[in-house]
Amino acid sequence: MARVVVDVMLKPEILDPQGKAVAQALPRLGYDGIAAVRQGKRFELDVVGEITEERLAQIRGAAETLLSNPVIEDFTVRVEDAI
């Protein structure tokens, strides 16, 4: 098995109220010097069998169809070490 990680982030032009809330909380805790925070989602997909280009294309399809909403979000797909 191998693990494929899909990271989903709101597009830069879309307001991220959650990230903003985190950014506002940080200086209150003494963590200074952080100009902005954007919050995203990380999906870990444990894939049965070998990772082929075809499998990756399938996973990109899933990321585009279900895991992200391309209207407001961008995603990246990467393979982690075998597990």
Binding site: I14, L15, P17, Q18, L67, I72
Partner: protein
Amino acid sequence: MRVGVVTFPGSLDDADARRAVRLAGAEPVALWHADADLHGVDAVVLPGGFSYGDYLRCGAIARFAPVMEPLVEAAHGGLPVLGICNGFQVLCESHLLPGALIRNDHRKFNCVDQALVVESTATVWTSGYATGQRIVVPLKNGEGGYVADEKTLDGLEAEGRVVVRYAGGNPNGSYRDIAGISNERGNVVGLMPHPEHAVEDLTGPSTDGLTFFTSALKAVVGV
């Protein structure tokens, strides 16, 4: 006229939507998310609530429910479809309507009697209003911020597809104060506020919402 109201796991306002349909003079038909059949209804309401617990994104999982397959096809063919709140989110996720709904800019759940201006009466669901009419219906959501890219927003405005706009202040950060939009044909309408909660004096802030349902009845039956 038979109006289907879909119940997803986590739908909350399906009973109120069926009640609004009945008060408008049509026959409500309960549709089940796992049933890939519209049972010959003349129109469909996707109700408010938290389908699938709002997991992943609001409406993202409901979009792939079996009932959505015939619904999307029928909507492309002209079937009147109204998405309210979570139903609006489902319509956007299904790409029947452009754009998306994100968390309110102030990060709080909103529950208010909201003033709206009806800007388009060229849809199946709003033909009974007067253009520019001000109405008050409940608004209650945590993720009601309507967003889309500039080109899409310009297109919606140019084509007269902004159906209702927030009046008296923007309650959730929606771009250009947009509360509801339609598809090009005007048979599919989605909005965040809840017309089905404003159909009786006893339970709502007004009866302004009833016209959504009587408009569809008139469009389908011609009465």
